[in-house]
């Protein structure tokens, strides 16, 4: 099988190369490792734990909303639950999800490098994550947080809940994100395999490159915003709190300058995963490589110009609102190009219905709805009606959970054999995809209707005319939970009793498939040399003019 890169000696040379999982034993070897794969696995375990915590909070919120009035908890507890759900899901799960876990594991392998550029900084990034996470858990213990994950002043500067420990936790998590970003940027620039030019890099690497750009450029602004918020609560400096002469809309500018680009930090790695999955599982070169690569960086760049669309009705001047609305539509074009290219990639392919491919189809369905509903919120007149209603809740769940999380699951199934060395039960995997698809749509499509009919966000009780829709949505959330539990069972079963995975179960062409599963500690016995593009599959019939016989 003429692979993309010949290594000097056969892949199974001297046996002394132990897999990175068994090379060193004991907890200490894990906690002090500088091996990017181990750090990736530790990140994976931590973020899945916090996904579970955030998910439980979501379930409590949805159960409370089953009927108007009190079902489960009081007002104050409900407010803390939705804040907890938002903050944990954003800061502790979805921002680090693909870059820090899958990215850490896969990036050096895809580049043919031994490790990331700064291994010690990579471990420091994980420990900053752990400290930030502990501060968040401390927040729950110290009386919770009821400001919403957005910490809007003056509510956040006047409420009595423990805002300081939560904001300081988010500040520390910012360092973890910045270090990952710096690490990946330098690794991609300086440590590519010989022969791997920029147009021969896998699209996952392009996506992680664009993501790291945003992480480095946007995170410091939320860091200073959170510090100023802490100073405002302690010293009473008058920047955000109107009682002290500040301007709350200024806080929203500071906050969204980070928080909109961070939604692209969340989705861009998902795009990278989907580009990899679509090509490998339909055995075809990507359609429009340069278009997808450049659109990742374009999204990262334009993403910095559009934050004002979160503030159309928030007291922003109408001139600024118009400018932001126009630029928001500019960012929709590169995203559309990507979705069209993925679908065009399937043309003339030989699609293998593996679990990752199931998740690709689920992603295309859910993310398309998420992306298209963004158009409603970008148009000024409709956003006045839809802002801060369940329409927005449905929109961002479709793009964040339907987009990033589904791509994360797809990527997890795709690279699971590589970094655990074990296959998983395909039937269970596909079942989880189907259940997640059904549960997700039942939960969140109803919320579009709720929102357009005027149901506001973050409501503990609601008026009777919204009752049936909330019931459907809550039932949907249970189906979604079932689907996620099936996925969890699949992974646990695979860890316990999955059969040994081959080095290249999906016959991928990118470099990570040219080493054992699980890889040896220094990834490659011999430095691989990249001779051709990442998606030159043997099945591609170069002679045919595209007609498939």
């Amino acid at each position: 099988m003429a692979s993309i890169a010949e290594t000097h000696t056969g892949p199974h040379d001297g046996g002394h190369h132990e897999s990175y999982l068994t090379a060193k034993r004991g907890i200490a070897s894990w906690l002090t490792t500088v091996d990017h794969k181990r750090i990736g696995v530790m990140y994976l375990a931590s973020i899945l734990f916090f996904f579970f915590v955030g998910g439980v909070a979501a379930l409590l919120v949805r159960t409370e909303l089953l009927n108007p009035g009190k079902d489960l908890v009081e007002h104050a507890v409900y407010n803390q639950l939705f804040t907890l759900h938002g903050a944990i899901m954003v800061f502790l799960f979805i921002v680090p999800s693909i870059p820090a876990s899958l990215g850490n594991i896969v990036l050096p392998l895809m580049l043919g490098a031994k490790d990331v550029a700064f291994p010690k900084m990579n471990l420091a990034s994980y420990y900053f994550y752990v400290v930030g996470a502990i501060l968040f858990i401390l927040t729950i213990v110290l009386g919770g947080l009821d400001t919403g994950w957005t910490f809007y002043a003056p509510y956040s500067t006047t409420t009595s809940t423990s805002v300081i420990s939560a904001t300081f936790g988010a500040f520390v998590l910012g360092f973890s994100s910045i270090f990952t970003g710096i690490n990946f940027l330098v690794t991609i620039h300086k440590m590519r395999a010989p022969g791997m030019t920029w147009d021969r890099m896998p699209l996952m690497v392009w996506a992680l490159y664009a993501t790291s750009l945003i992480q480095v450029l946007a995170t410091p602004v939320i860091a200073i915003t959170l510090l100023l918020l802490i100073c405002e609560r302690t010293f009473g400096i008058g920047i955000f709190d109107p009682a002290l002469g500040g301007d709350p809309v200024l806080f929203q500018h500071f906050f969204w300058f980070y928080s909109h680009p961070v939604v692209y930090v969340m989705i861009l790695p998902g795009f990278g995963v989907i580009s990899e999955l679509v090509t490998v599982h339909s055995r075809k070169g990507i359609f429009g490589y340069m278009a997808i690569a450049i659109s990742s960086v374009a999204i990262a760049f334009i993403g910095f110009l559009v934050w004002g669309h979160h503030m159309f009705v928030a007291g922003e001047s109408s001139l600024a609102a118009t400018v932001f609305s126009f630029l928001t539509f500019a960012v929709a074009v590169p995203t559309a190009i990507k979705v069209f290219s993925w679908i065009a990639t399937m043309y003339g392919g030989s699609i293998r219905y593996t679990t990752p491919m199931y998740y690709v189809f689920v992603f295309l369905f859910l993310f398309s709805i998420g992306g298209l509903t963004g158009l409603f919120l970008g148009a000024l007149a409709v956003d006045v009606q839809m802002h801060d209603t369940y329409f927005v809740v449905a929109h961002f769940h479709y793009v964040m959970m339907g987009g990033t999380f589904i791509a994360f699951l797809g990527g997890l199934f795709h690279w699971w054999p590589k970094f655990t060395g074990k296959m998983y039960d395909e039937r269970l995997g596909k079942l989880s995809a189907v259940l997640v698809f059904i549960g997700f749509n039942v939960t969140f499509f109803t919320q579009f209707v709720l929102g357009s009919r005027g149901m506001p966000r973050r409501y503990y009780t609601y008026q009777p005319q919204f009752h049936t829709l909330h019931e459907i949505s809550t039932i949907g959330s249970y189906i979604l939970t079932a689907g996620l539990l099936v996925a969890l069972v699949t992974f646990i079963k695979s860890l316990k009793s999955g059969e040994k995975a081959t080095a290249n179960p999906w016959n991928g062409m990118t470099l990570e498939w040219h080493t054992e599963s699980p890889p040896i500690e220094h990834n490659f016995a011999e430095q691989p040399i990249c001779r051709r593009g990442p998606y030159d599959f043997p099945e591609i019939d170069e002679s045919a003019a595209g007609a498939r016989h």
């Binding site: 031994k114 710096i182 330098v186 300086k190 995170t219 410091p220 010293f235 920047i239 500071f254 040399i529």
Partner: protein, 226 residues
Amino acid sequence: MSDSHAAHGHADAPGNNSPFFQHHFVTMTQQASAAKLGMWLFLVQEVLFFSGLFMFYIIFRYLHPDTMLWASEHLLDKTMGGINTVVLLFSSVTMALAVRAGQVGNKQHQVTYLAITIVCACIFLCVKYVEYSHKFHMGALPGHFYSYAGNIPGEPQTFFALYFCLTGLHGIHVIAGIIALLWLMKRSARGDFGPTYYAPLELTGLYWHLVDLVWIFLFPLLYLIH
């Protein structure tokens, strides 16, 4: 942009035999340029970090020019600011010369220049201490703690919040710089740095020049307002 090809090219590339050569790199040149790019990205993050406070400055100056003019003229001492600027510029030169000494491998120069840089940084902090104690004494403090006798038009407590945030954050970065410089001096004294390995010197130099850059903008913006 990795340079030499297969593994056999390891030994003879310059600096590859240095004890500080990280083996996941192919050559020392690659390691040095990776370290420098990493540092520049860290400096990018620092610029954006300070940008939040400069935004606070722009908004405050746009809304309360009178407060800023009055408070800056009466309570901020131009000469102290000027001294600090000269001290920091001088420390920037000595830092750059320390890096140069590392490049040529002159251990003695490295240590002396680093020592002068640290001394200058301490002088900067002492001058800051004098300025701060003057303000504490006058009660010109941020937010709730503001109790200055004279009446300043507009929002004086927010101006001093801005002043203390800007100069305080800059001061913290100067302190972090001093700690890094002390660590560097220890390593220089041990003779770690030479023509093929001086990355820590260079990176701390870049960081120190950025701290100086921030002060170059802080000085006119806070002290010399008209």
